[in-house]
């Protein structure tokens, strides 16, 4: 569900359907994304096996790095200082009742708002916006398509569940942490960041920056007529491809370099780790991103909208690469190993 929700978000972004008057609906969408992640996190604990127990322990421990209130927030969410019976009760209530109700309410609002703002009309590259848009009745045209798709997905899930067992490891044992102890897959990007940055930066600062960027996205005025057109312009297309490729290659290169050759705390032992392994690499990364932006604008003469598409794609594929590395290429002791 997390993946499907993400794909929808990407579709909206890449068809430039998030600007005026749709900014508020984008924010509703971001809220739904966070609730979906929360639903996934609370559900992850319910099997109460080793994987569930420690994934939630690690995930909740990340919250402790929030300044000032971190420990209280973590204890509130867990219902205590550790994952315990209280945690299971809370997560169960959240997962089967509270979050679904919230999702239902906000999703209704989101869909109503999409209709009120007007659906963005899909167009081909270079096609002018038409004022004459053909309209059909919701019933049966939309409902039939939604019903067919929903039934197909349910059927597929059903067959999958028949053929493949849901994973279940041995029962949770609070005394013994597995090696490696990994969070759920959608948090592995952040856990991989933890291998390279001080925890405050990996778990709080960088995800916060990402979230702030997501929230600000619809408010940058587009300087092209790209609504409904995938990637906006012809240049937008290959700049997105370029950004995507750079994100993958750059991330792999930096992970490799940091793992084998770089030890910032050792290079600058007089500085506290928060600075040598936190502020300094973050500022360096932001400088690199700014350089890329300038390359796009001055070197490739990209419009702001095109440059934004490219930069977003770079950050997106970087995060996906981190997630893949964390999920598949980290073995015992969180060392870089092949997945087979």
């Amino acid at each position: 569900m997390v993946i499907v929700v993400l794909l929808h978000m990407l579709r909206v972004f890449f068809t430039n359907a998030l600007h005026r008057p749709r900014e508020f609906n984008w924010l509703l969408g971001v809220t739904l994304l966070l609730i979906t992640a929360g639903a996934n996190f609370t559900g992850y604990l319910l099997p109460w096996d080793q994987r569930a127990y420690w994934a939630v322990t690690v995930g909740a421990s990340l919250l402790q790095y929030i300044p000032l209130m971190g420990e209280q927030i973590a204890h509130f969410i867990l219902g205590g200082p550790e994952v315990d019976a209280a945690t299971l009760t809370n997560f169960y209530g959240l997962h089967v009742a509270v979050l679904p109700m919230l999702l239902f309410a906000i999703m209704s609002f989101h869909i109503w708002r999409a209709r009120k703002d007007g659906f963005s009309v899909p167009r081909d590259l270079g096609e002018a916006p038409t004022s004459k848009v053909e309209r059909v009745t919701t019933i049966p045209h939309l409902i039939s398509r939604e019903a067919i798709f929903a039934l197909a997905v349910i059927a597929l899930l059903f067959v999958w569940a028949l053929l493949v067992n849901a994973p279940l490891e041995e029962a949770a044992d609070p005394a013994h942490s597995p090696n490696p102890a990994k969070a759920a897959w959608y948090f592995m990007g952040i856990q991989e960041l933890l291998m390279h940055f001080h925890p405050f930066f990996a778990a709080i600062v960088i995800p916060a920056l990402g979230l702030i960027l997501l929230i600000l996205l619809p408010y940058f005025s587009p300087d092209m007529d790209g609504e409904g057109i995938w990637f906006g312009t012809r240049k937008g297309r290959w700049l997105v491809a370029l950004g995507g490729l750079l994100g993958i290659v750059g991330t792999i290169a930096m992970v490799w370099f940091d793992e084998h050759y770089l030890d910032l705390t050792e290079l600058m032992p007089s500085l506290p780790a928060v600075i040598s392994n936190g502020w300094i690499p973050l500022v360096w990364l932001l400088a690199m991103l700014w350089l890329y932006w300038e390359l796009l604008r001055q070197g490739f003469h990209a419009l702001q909208s095109e440059a934004r598409l490219s930069l977003f794609t770079l950050l997106l594929t970087s995060f996906i690469t981190l997630t893949v590395i964390g999920q598949l290429f980290r073995g015992e002791g969180m060392s870089l190993t092949l997945p087979f």
Binding site: W54, G80, P81, D84, S177, A181, L194, G333
Partner: protein, 158 residues
């Protein structure tokens, strides 16, 4: 004030009351409850003389290790790693706590030997009464460094 403003104000007041009640219930449901006797309460670990100096004894239900230092002082060391919450086993061969998750290592008293742990292992309040050791797992002691000696000694050894 006319009827309309009165009804509006009354509705708003009742809505605020309802909101407050829901918030209260939500808080009571989710907030940490006082533990019923076990972890979160006081453990009677046993007689002080039963633990030789230099020993590390895991107290599983209490989630801590009863450490008796070489100088005879007692410490109750919380088994939760200060990095991301994994349970840290005591490795007798290396005479260290070594965390399996990311390799943090700690000495017998919780002092950091290897990152990425950001602070020494936490302690629980420990008292000795009539030669019996009591550990209060509801009272956690967090430290930035191991400069201060929190070890508790028997009367004749202090």
């Amino acid at each position: 004030m006319n009827r309309r403003t009165f009804v509006k104000a009354a509705t708003a007041g009742l809505a605020a009351l309802a909101g407050g009640e829901i918030a209260y219930i939500g808080w009571k449901f989710a907030a940490p409850r006082a533990a019923a006797g076990e972890f979160g309460g006081i453990f009677e670990v046993g007689a002080a003389v039963d633990f030789p100096p230099g020993s590390v004894t895991p107290i599983t239900n209490g989630r801590f290790y009863l450490v008796r230092q070489v100088d005879g002082g007692f410490l109750a060391v919380y088994r939760q790693c200060t990095h991301l919450g994994c349970s840290v086993p005591w490795e007798p061969a290396q005479a260290q706590f070594v965390c399996p998750c990311h390799g943090s290592a700690f000495e017998m008293d919780g002092k950091i030997l290897n990152p990425p742990a950001p602070r020494p292992l936490d302690l629980f309040e420990l008292t000795i009464e009539d030669g019996q050791i009591n550990v209060n797992t509801g009272r956690k002691i967090q430290r930035d460094n191991t400069d201060k000696n929190f070890a508790v000694y028997m009367e004749d050894q202090a």
